[in-house]
Symmetry: C3
Subunit: 468 residues, 3 copies
Amino acid sequence: MLGGTSLPALSLPAVCFVWQIAMIILFGVFIRYDEESDAHWVEFKREHNITSDIENDFYFRYPSFQDVHVMIFVGFGFLMTFLKRYSFGGVGFNFLIAAFGLQWALLMQGWFHSLDPATGKIYIGVESLINADFCCAGSLIAYGALLGKVSPVQLMVVTLFGVTLFAVEEYIILTLLHCRDAGGSMVIHAFGGYYGLAISWVLYRPNLHQSKRLNGSVYHSDVFAMIGTLFLWMFWPSFNSAITDHGDGQHRAAINTYLALASSVLTTVAISSMSQKTGKLDMVHIQNATLAGGVAMGTAAEFMITPYGSLIVGFCTGIISTFGYLYITPFLEKYLKLQDTCGVHNLHALPGMLGGFIGAIVAAAATESVYSAEGLINVFDFEGSFANRGVGTQGGFQAAGTCVAIAFGLVGGAIVGLILRIPIWGDPADDNCYDDEVYWEVRVPEDEESIPPVLEYNNHMIHKHQDM
Amino acid sequence: MLGGTSLPALSLPAVCFVWQIAMIILFGVFIRYDEESDAHWVEFKREHNITSDIENDFYFRYPSFQDVHVMIFVGFGFLMTFLKRYSFGGVGFNFLIAAFGLQWALLMQGWFHSLDPATGKIYIGVESLINADFCCAGSLIAYGALLGKVSPVQLMVVTLFGVTLFAVEEYIILTLLHCRDAGGSMVIHAFGGYYGLAISWVLYRPNLHQSKRLNGSVYHSDVFAMIGTLFLWMFWPSFNSAITDHGDGQHRAAINTYLALASSVLTTVAISSMSQKTGKLDMVHIQNATLAGGVAMGTAAEFMITPYGSLIVGFCTGIISTFGYLYITPFLEKYLKLQDTCGVHNLHALPGMLGGFIGAIVAAAATESVYSAEGLINVFDFEGSFANRGVGTQGGFQAAGTCVAIAFGLVGGAIVGLILRIPIWGDPADDNCYDDEVYWEVRVPEDEESIPPVLEYNNHMIHKHQDM
Amino acid sequence: MLGGTSLPALSLPAVCFVWQIAMIILFGVFIRYDEESDAHWVEFKREHNITSDIENDFYFRYPSFQDVHVMIFVGFGFLMTFLKRYSFGGVGFNFLIAAFGLQWALLMQGWFHSLDPATGKIYIGVESLINADFCCAGSLIAYGALLGKVSPVQLMVVTLFGVTLFAVEEYIILTLLHCRDAGGSMVIHAFGGYYGLAISWVLYRPNLHQSKRLNGSVYHSDVFAMIGTLFLWMFWPSFNSAITDHGDGQHRAAINTYLALASSVLTTVAISSMSQKTGKLDMVHIQNATLAGGVAMGTAAEFMITPYGSLIVGFCTGIISTFGYLYITPFLEKYLKLQDTCGVHNLHALPGMLGGFIGAIVAAAATESVYSAEGLINVFDFEGSFANRGVGTQGGFQAAGTCVAIAFGLVGGAIVGLILRIPIWGDPADDNCYDDEVYWEVRVPEDEESIPPVLEYNNHMIHKHQDM
């Protein structure tokens, strides 16, 4: 059943066991509770004159964390159930790699961002959990480009390297370049999108048409995918505001994202309808391009982009993303040999890149009259060695950060793609792509929804009878 | 494919583009961040002696906002997926009109309720977003009566006028009459329900029976609809408490709604089972009437209605709503020529009206011993020019407010219905109602769940063979 | 259609009406708002020098409450939609019994835990709602063992007694033995699991194989079940932290549960894949055993178990639970005559018991250096008459508490099972189990997903034609 493997396939159980045991050991060595989740909190509170438990960061961020968590597991997971016979793989492998990725992310992000040099430990709290979920998102986006064409072991490898690359580029962009990117237009979407595309490009399958019968949706699989779409769409304001500053920062990021997303929906519908002579809408566009506004607001959401600025961002990215599904994806497949199952180029890579540049422009245009002197310092964190950075310089660094994210995605993805071409991963044969039966026990024989070939044959029979 | 159009159909893309551009311009002129979402917050805090960011309204209301958001998009959307071949339209058009409606609502509600006369601007924060979602709900309820019988352009018109009418009636009821209606029994449910019914009555289709084959559910579409039902049911306590007073107001509204909803479930099940000789339950009742308790508590939830009072409200409305599905909807269709696809009369219009009157009675019965002197002032906002209003008077105004909401719904709906009869909207022909194929690309040919006519024919063939 | 009834069946409507009326009367006598949800809050605040409404417990717990609420209704409900023709019963009866159970739980838990002796009243707030949802969970777990084999009236009886037994065992374990069990490994999962298993054992059906054709999933019912799985999995950190101490208690419980669950996913996938020669994954394992880490952390989540300790717990329970599905469930059915539809033994009973003992060990190992002196007192509530209890003693009591929970489940379940054998409950015949048509109006004739026998016959016909 499996194809493309000339060496014995590396076994999924072995990978899961070894990596999970490694996680346990590394957590034992490095990870501890931070002061707000440790039982010493009662002493910490007294020492820092904190008068109420409600000041614990848990109450600022936990509702947003849970919304992000839903986006990662139900949002991304169900968005990928749209294929007629790959719903198990879509939601199930997403579950597997996110559950692994968030553990590895806590370590990688901890080492790069919050390792205490005195103790050699990483101290985690609710913000770490949000960041770990964010870090996984990069690899889940990459999965979107690979959906149906890779084995679960390959996905584990994609995630291992994806999380690693993410932590490094995030360190360069947020710490060294001192960019702001609360919702991750650059570090999550542009990186994750180009990472997945580069892997897919290296893994190009010239004979993928042999699985064409399964590369499509059925009526109810499209409805399942709408569960993913809607939970992503609804909770994106939480995504973009989850780790912004307490107070106005979280508040403003949520409002801006809410508005950009609303605007995306209308332009997506407009372009989708225009693209067909009959004026009919295409579910692929509604499921995906409606989300582009949230991606594109990932950097600028915490800035004073203004409510109408947010609407304009959503307006443009809804159009661009839908055009992407109509023209760019077919173009990339035909001329660049790039097979992108979910069209992550149109939903993540391109809007993420745009979001990075939008953030650069909005940052460069910031003024003290709009932000107030203190507000400007707070929003852009112009403190310490960055106290004298001007907004123009900040804009330049934001643009540079976007380029770093794309470069990490493309180069990292190409390398990981080459690793995945080693024939030990148990990837599916060209005529078995998009098929859950390769990796899942699927109970078909007594299924009321009988399998496609039979029904097709069945219809044949009917036509023959009509001819009689 | 389209019917009922003698003039060229107004195009959906044109409507989406023109309206979204109008939104951008109007937002540019009118909408700004309020003091809690503006970067000046740090100054505002100091000036007002606010000691902690946690006092930002974001932390009081954002979790409730997100629950309401889920109700609007997943709750209403999936509740309308129950039709066998209109699930795309149910969830997809709900998505479109809510995304448009919330933008228009921010403007309309802003003009009526929070336009700053000094600056001519509307300042928005998280409470504005909740109110915008609420305002959309009126039009989404109306969609329930029209489901499957109107074009997306017509729905955009329904929403444009629905949001406008909502803002006006809300201004009259909440501001001029000084009613309390935190969960919107009157302003949302009674208005929205009668608005949709009046439109449907004007758009009566005598030959709708030609689409009868599609006006029903299949097994899995009923399960999809339960996603909508449950998210509405679970989050209704957040709906009714989202904009009530901080502290005990939000707390009490959530408890009362939780109890009323629980009680509705038991009486819905009881009546549904009694209505069949076999004692079997009907999914239509479970999907809808279980929610009636939440609708009917929309006004009284923030009052001291007592926990057992809440149970009684749920008890009665569960019964009334289920009876509505059994007897009133067929009666309205047969004798009043009123086609109500989702039975919004039983779920929204009638329980909403009852909720308005329950609120009036509970308000009139309020006493200082139950509320405390200060509590009475807080709950009913007896301040400023209303400082001397007694609870009896308040009860009278609450009842009057309910009548205003109904009148706005009926008259407004009739007028909008007449507008929608102009033959330029591209509405479906009588034999194409409840059919996604009119407005959506539906991939059927290689679908394992092949379309009904084929299977029916298929079965025919089988029977013929048996005869051979 | 119904079988096993020699006396006239007790009617569902009668049970619903009588019990709901009883609830209203008992609520009228006993249940009142507590000081944080009463309109007197404004006075209470002043008297207790509470400076801000944000100190109202509503803002500490309401987001967690809503997550728990989703787990109870969507989580448990959709997890039980996996059967091909019992999805209505799975999600619908879960809805019914949870809505009844939470009302009865508010009363029972109130009488045992918070009856004010001065006034004879029970005062409820948001924490009461969470506890009521928890209390229902015990009976919903029991339903998992009985799924498809009992009538709704029987389920109401299971819930009536289940909630009652829960309140008693909870009183013994939490109040008399002074155990800590915030996430309910003992009081919810071990009790609920063994309660359901004991009932199922008494109700053993030797001829259940007559319904074998319906005891399985189809492709899309497995996807529906993943909705339940994921919402349970994502929100389990809220479940285990919902009623822990404000501040570090809630924070730490969420982190520990998040980690244990992630670890469970990897070992579940590993064992599931190992168990098949083909290395394929089984949806039953992914839907269930991935959750075992959350169950097993129910007691220890609020303790200083350390992040890597949480990973180890998830690691082990993922393995044990998956083994349970592979070997223990078939063993129990074959040798102990125990039919466990959803395998609650592997997901709740066994991991719950383990969780109780893990909690005992972690408690016994607690030290002042890890918890701080004050932290130790806070976490284990060593106050009042328990001020001098040592951690070793506490560990012993935790272990004893686990045994009490199991004993209550087994004995209580056996008694309730005997009650359910009285032939007045209208339970389904052996050849009608797992079939929604017994209790629900199912619209099949014009269904595009036609019923299995027809399609099977259909395929026959095709084969005959090929032979022709």
